[in-house]
Amino acid sequence: MTQDDARRSLEASTDFEFRAGRVWLRQVRWLRAVADLASREAVRGAIAGAERTADLLPIGPSRAWAPSGGWSADPLP
């Protein structure tokens, strides 16, 4: 079986449906997993963005959590 033959056969028999480059999902369980993952990634992105911004400042939360330095004695998490 060539790769092209296999690809054609796969596309003809898959249960996935694509619309405009996106995969169309209806399973509630999967959509929940997508939403959960997307929201976690959004939060992670926001934290990374905040840290990048903070790095530009003379002092900030990321420095405060460093093992030594001005704020390290504070009972931070």
Binding site: M1, Q3, D5, A6, R7, S9, L10, E11, S13, T14, D15, F16, F18, R19, A20, G21, R22, V23, W24, L25, R26, Q27, V28, R29, W30, L31, A33, V34, D36, L37, A38
Partner: protein, 843 residues
Amino acid sequence: VRPRPAAARYRDPVWLPRQIAALDDADRPVVLIGGERFGVPFVLDALRSRRRTAWWALARSAVGDDVAQGNALAGALNRVLDAPLFGEALPYTTHVQFLRQHAHDLRPLWIVITTERADVPVIADLVGLQEAGYRVVVDWRGDGAPNLGDPAFDALARCSVRGPDELRLTHAEAGAVAPGGLGAERVAQLWRESEGRFSDLIARAHVAAQLPALAVPAPDGPLSAAREGEGVAPDLAVRALVRDGAFVEALELAVLAVPELVGDLIRQAGPAYQERGLTQRLHLLLSALPLPYAVLERVLEWRLVAAVAAGDVGAVIPAVDAHLAAHVAPELRARRAGVMANPAGFAQAEAAVAARRTPLTLWQYGRLHPEPAVAARLLEESVRLAEEVGTAFEVARSAGTLGAKLLHQGDFARARAWIQWALEVFDQHQLRDGARRLVLVNDLAYARVLTGDLAGLHASLADAAPALDGTLPNVARLFRSTWAALELVSHRPEAARDLLEPVVAGSPRGRHAAYAHQLVRVWHELGDHEEAGRLADDAVALAAGAGEHAELVARLARGMADAVGWSAAGSDPRDPRGERAADDLLDVVLAATLAAELRLPAALHYLLLRPDAGHHVPADLARVLGDLHRAALHLFSGPPALFEPVWDQLRAGGPSLRLSFFGAGGCRIAGEVVELTPRMAEVALALTLHPTGLSRDALNDFLTPGGQAPFTSGGLRGLLTRLRSRLPVSDAPYRWCVPFTADVVEVGERLAAGRAREAIALWQGPLLPVSDAPGVREARAALEENLRQAALQSGDPDALYDLASRVGDDLELWEAAASALPTGDPRLALARARCRRLEHEYG
């Protein structure tokens, strides 16, 4: 009086109960034509909540893949039965046969399939289950209405059709299903706009009432409403599917849209496909993968596994070899070793394990290692490592292979322990590979036959084997051959013959002799040495050119036939069969790479021919021979009358009088069969149950039913004189004059020692079943009650299940079996079903 149809009882305008009642009333399978728009998923969901219903969907990807269909059907059945009765990785036809075989216990049960296709065999096979008493519904989702006149739709044409007209809501029903507060006029308008289609009406009504859309029921969990699906970026979707544990679907999506994720994903998805027997689909997926992803090391590993399973290795082998030429790749190398001829394969496996010791590399090296002790050590290490760093599947695989290796070597007791362990891991972790599990079940059964542990075996083989016929022919042949071995050691040679004849007739040429030699053994037990000789000659003719192994096994068959034929005909030195048999058998005895199950019968038949040539038997085989359980000795030998001297030589001593009172019964003294009349058998039982002796009056009481005239003094004396002419019986008090063994005594000893499992295995059925003598009746009832109590007290699931199956409708035993069987055991569902039925019957 014909009962009023359920539909007529629903005069209230309630749509769902009307639909359910119509399904209840149908006297044929039903096809629902209307799909989601007409609310069929809601009807099926309601059916599922009110009746025991296994609902599954035929996915597009499963069309043409009997195993994928089997997995979906098994999942639905196990969910409704709340037990893993149906394994995965098996074709759906196996499950359909099992459903037919166990209809009595599994009904009432509705089986529903949602499908876009009607021209696939599974639809006709499911519709056919209605004849077995199941209720069958086909939820048609194809384009447009099916053309029931078209032969492709034959299966649906056998169904009662409920189409849009029957599924449409009435005006009054619309009022009942619409959210409250919309007002009658608004509901009427929505009903007209939706033309009575349930889902359309509900969707519009929910929008109007500003309610969230209703999820749509489906076999594997709800779907969002048709208009509320979501287009998701494929990479995010793949990661979400992985989070949900849907590795099979995740890999398919990744191959289609995000191939760069396949390299990481295959680590989890590969085993998931393998475990579910979806190697055909895996082969298609990985064949569709573009470069460079197709030649990543881990992808190549699974491409090789899938290609081997699909029998299409042409494209992958060069890619694997090119990779191995430039990389160490221990696991890929170990996989490659498995599909190479020896000695190259062994060298690859050795190189793989030298590079890294993993459960896989050790497993392959151990599997291929020719030195038995080293092979066993390697496989044990593989099990240990799998327990530390591997998966449950790897533990089960290595333990199962170790068990098979030990079986091959003749270490039956250790084999049994390891295979049992593999099976426990399988069930505890609910591993899905049903085909692999069946091989373990078979190997365990065989090891148990050879170690004389027969409790529960008959039921488990008889339950599994018929469902495999025509669906997994190789596994079915294995099961029937093991089952035949069980029948033979249980003194039912006719049953063994009936099982083996079709196996021999249907086996491929390379395997023909392996089954033929077993059937030769059975013909000997039945006393038909001519038939055994004919079969053996055929086996030799068919094995010519089929390879050295097949030829050697065929010579074993001929050697066995000649040895027994020669001995039974008087051991005439001029009879050429004697010499030829000795040559054939000694070659098999000396072939160290052959399995013990072939070398042992060769050795026993050789000793029959040459009682003084025991020194020709190699020491490793002689050790195994000396330790053989009586059941194995019986299985591998021939008619006891001929082989007693050989057994005595191995046993060196032991009682010479052997009595059997279960089932057909029997008696031998010094290896010679002694025929007893029914009355003599009753006397023999009386003497056996009273080893210190029995007075004339006591014997008379034992034999004579109440209300009948007792034996006269002369009559009893005459009976004893006739018995004494055949067996050594003392004067009064009557007792045996020689040491004896008897099956009834052995069962009693096991019971007294609290070994219920062994006692039940030895119990072959009622004591002298046709006898009406009061002593026999009393002993029979007492023994059966003792067995029952012992099983109940032991709590041993095998003992309980075996006894419950053999006794029949004893609710207490079935309840105890259901309580004792562990959650993962497939027999649990059958035991529960039997309890349900008996509770119902007993009111």
